[in-house]
Symmetry: C3
Subunit: 443 residues, 3 copies
């Protein structure tokens, strides 16, 4: 159960990047990986990365709650907090060993499985030799486990305000346990996409588009919310708490420093700081670009577009944060910020109802960020990136399509009309989120 | 002022755990504690742990605000932010030296005091020799100081919506300064419970049940809120902002990684990551178990039960996060999640009104988590755990009982009936939390 | 592009402090800066400091949103999230090289510029030799870049609820790019104030008063909000969400540990932990002092005063967190907490309308904290501190005055009367923050 594939790639990328940047990591830093102290520092950073990725979950929860109506808040909050638990538990039971099968490949480098449960490798030296002495086994589990819930959480946003709670739970369990992990094994687990030269640092594809394709399937099969598209016209359904939505975006940006920064899998000073810089600049550029785009298109700067522009920049830079130049990171962010706004208009035009803009942010910019590696990184070719995007699209669409279609045929995926109008908080949970506050009946 | 007692116990536990897990920390890692680099890394992690524990305080504040009514929000927020200040200041003035008296025991190993104020030990080598070279004096102070406020904050939740602000302040000062610290010295300060073999990694007993017993006394002496139990029937008083409550739980979970993880008192890679893993899995298991229990009992999955189940799992694993197996951590979480729901029903049945479920989460699961160490840890016996639970119960009940009873006899602890109906925000602070929002008059 | 000036000063301060405290950093710790491991640890802490300073931005956003009216929330949130992007982008384009010109001084030690854009120094050893081997180039950029937005964010609070969005953007770009950076270069960039012996650890002057003076100019030129001062009487305009305001203060306090703690520019155990301790105690003392002052003055403990007292203590300790005694840190906090309340009354008396108390917190306590270094630190003289305060006041007032006056003459800085009454959310952004909630029309 090692990930030497990944590490080799990272080292290769690093030297390429540093060469491109005409700087170089001090030899002393690289050589010292073997020391107990360096092991401890690297390990500590990955652990902190796990906490930071965890902090993205309240971010997702608040963005979704804030951009949806008050009457569905309890349901949204329940889905989001539950998704973290599902991600962690399924990853412990089998996900970790599906995604990182080590040498236990069953079907070429397409499907592997290292067995049920988690247990550290035996022997005194196992911890320090694990993955080249960069970090320990449990550190690896908890960091990767925090990622496991994120792709499903993306789906949560697109299917909000109309999906049945039990259908969502079943989907979340299956997609977190088998979908995210199997597809991820192709790259991060050392599978066939890795061998092809496909590169995705922290998950523009393996997290965001894996979630995004499933979100597309879910939103399509569910159909739009009542009242969203009437007689061919789009009716905006404004969010109930833009304060929550903004705080959520801040938390996501905050956590993204760990998401991208700890995906370097060491505390190597130059690499981590460089990833922080490209991540922050792409987010800032995406935010400004989306504000400008919405200002031009709508006549006024739209806060939800500003927020989605920030997230778009973050998703866009995630695949290549360690291997594109500073200027390229800004370009990636700007393009992400423009296309996220256009994409929101596009999905409304084709009547795919996505309450929070998850498709535009995670799917469209996830694909864009993956392709951008092939365009902007001196170390990577375009073709493997395109193949990776298409292969992951096919697998994600197929996998989520089968689950959602099966659920639709059996227990059903959409709440009844009166339940939807009443709100899922009352119909699914028998409680409300803002007791004592006067809320308009139709919202 | 050293804590060699604690460190010896931790090392013993570590070897036990690692032995049980058939792994071992690389010798190099342990041996290297003496180096300046290792000292710096260990110290940095404890400092980060202090920040993470700090982050639990907004978590407590939001859970309590969210689960109570809008008309008491200002009061709750004021109590919570003030409690942090009280905890830090009393700990600096005398709490630190009461809790960690070093060799300055006055009454057996039952009461010690190292003097007023805080000042680092003298001499060039003091910092690095302090506690075996793991971290510095000020680091120790700030990490422990962040804990000092947490037990009192637990009380805050159980006495919410009816306690006088001035009575709460006096209780908080006395309990933080003398109650939490004196009782804690029995274990973490190297006192008689420590010598007995009692084990509590991060405070299932010394934080959560110490707060929980006082919360029980407070809730009992105050009596239930007006309208909660009428003619023998329980009337649910739903929370005003489930968004805040959920964010609060996320913040608590986030901070708990530092609460438990830095209680290892070093950045030792295997130990910290293992504690992260057991902590996360117990929280996840508690969440799912509480959801299932409430779904079965109430017919629908209740968000406040889901949230309390998550916290229950966290409280339950806190005593033994470093010394139980992965499977045991899940078992502890599941049991915590079931009993927290049953406990909420039980306290309502006996008409103890606890607006946020603090008794069920912190007291019941704090006791359970402490006992669980005796059941699941191969390194610890059951009897010392039971003795510890009982001794801490007796001391906490007596101490908080004396304070609350004295306050009740003198200045009074409960606001007047009309003030309670009007809300404590207006009556105690002359202001409201949500100005401009239409709030129902009776909420 | 080195900051040896700063580092020398820090080392001098450290030895002074430690001498005053009769402790000493272990020689081994200081000597080991050269090792790759120590470089990595130091670098990691500065990177974490960058994340923590980032976390202050949601804090600013929530404090401002919570203390203002619901009808201006979207505008406030948009301003705050945009300010982070502006700070980062302008800092990358030219701010970093204006603030830290290295040897590229143009006008004495008063104005320097190292060129456009950011790029790491060349050569294999550059990273490790950069700034004495304490941390890398990109680490330096991202940490300083996170600071760049903070001074402008302070202005945002004082001009809230009436400034035009486009005018704010232009001001923010110019002040972040040229104002904050040029003035900061005088001290942190090794300029003339540094040479004079002026000391400001983390920005009581260079962040808080630089923002505070501009906030004063903005609030003065804009005039008070409609209805705030009528017939010579002050009408309180209560905040819409004290939950947000309190969470914001908690986030600011949380981030401040990085703001002050990483301004030590290494992970040196004694220094960082000492700064954590003084920072926490000053905040706690300020909170309690402001509560007491407001309780005496108003008859009831005012939550917004409690919150501002906490922030006042944080701003007050920021200049000298590493060079005053523990007792002095408490004294600084108490005085900050008293003067922040009196200052709020004072600004209302002279009819300067500051919706969130930014002038009292950041300007008054920023000045006080800077002077306090001259009073309480054994290593610093009073006169350079006074000169620094005055010079920065003059420059900030002049710079912000020119920008705001020019904007007022051209595009105008204040929204129209009906737009202000309607709220900036509708008039500037065409959307509302709390859809579905019943909000009073006049709020």
């Amino acid at each position: 159960m090692n990930r030497k594939y990944l590490l080799t790639a990272l080292t290769a990328t690093a030297s390429c990047l540093l060469c491109a940047q005409e700087t170089a990591a001090p030899a002393a830093v690289s050589a010292a990986h073997a020391s107990a102290e360096m092991f401890t520092v690297n390990n500590l950073w990955i652990l902190l990365g796990a906490i930071l990725v965890f902090a993205m979950h309240p971010g997702f929860a608040l963005v979704e709650t804030g951009l949806c109506r008050a009457k569905n808040s309890v349901n949204i909050l329940a889905k989001n907090v539950l998704t973290v638990a599902i991600g962690l538990l399924t990853f412990a039971i089998l996900g970790f060993n599906l995604m990182y099968p080590g040498d236990n490949w069953i079907l070429g480098h397409f499907l592997g499985f290292g067995g049920f449960g988690i247990s550290a490798p035996e022997g005194a030296a196992a911890a320090i030799e694990y993955n080249g002495g960069l970090y320990g086994y449990w550190t690896d589990f908890i960091f990767q486990g925090m990622f496991a819930a994120t792709s499903v959480t993306i789906v949560s946003g697109a299917v909000a305000e109309r999906i049945k709670f039990n259908a969502y739970i079943i989907f979340a369990v299956l997609y977190a346990a088998f979908g995210y992990t199997l597809i991820g094994s192709w790259g991060w687990g050392g599978g066939w996409l890795k061998e092809l030269g496909f590169y995705d640092l922290a998950g523009s594809t393996f997290v965001h588009s894996v979630g995004g394709w499933a979100a597309l399937v879910g939103a399509f099969l569910l159909g739009p919310r009542i009242g969203k598209y009437v007689n061919g016209k789009t009716h905006a359904i404004p969010g109930s708490n833009l304060g929550f939505a903004t705080l959520g975006v801040f938390l996501l940006w905050f956590g993204w420093f760990g998401f991208n920064g700890a995906s370097v899998f060491s505390a190597e000073p130059v690499m981590v700081a460089y990833v922080f810089t490209t991540t922050a600049l792409s987010a800032a550029a995406g935010l400004v670009a989306a504000m400008a785009t919405s200002w031009i298109a709508q006549g006024k700067p739209d806060l939800s577009m500003i927020l989605n522009g920030c997230l778009a920049g973050l998703v866009g830079i995630t695949a290549g944060a360690d291997c594109v130049s500073i200027q390229s990171s800004c370009a990636i962010g700007i393009i992400s910020g423009v296309i996220v706004v256009l994409s929101v208009y596009f999905f409304d035009k084709i009547h795919i109802d996505d309450p929070v803009g998850a498709l535009s942010v995670h799917l469209v910019c996830g694909v864009w960020g993956t392709i951008a590696v092939g365009i902007f990184s001196p170390a990577h070719a375009l073709m493997p990136q395109i193949i990776g995007v298409l292969a992951v699209a096919a697998a994600s669409l197929a996998f989520s399509g089968i689950i959602f279609a099966a659920l639709k045929k059996t227990i059903g995926i959409r709440v009844g009309k009166s339940d939807e109008l009443k709100g899922l908080d009352i119909s699914e949970h028998g409680m409300e989120a803002y007791n004592g506050f006067q809320i308009f009946s139709n919202e």
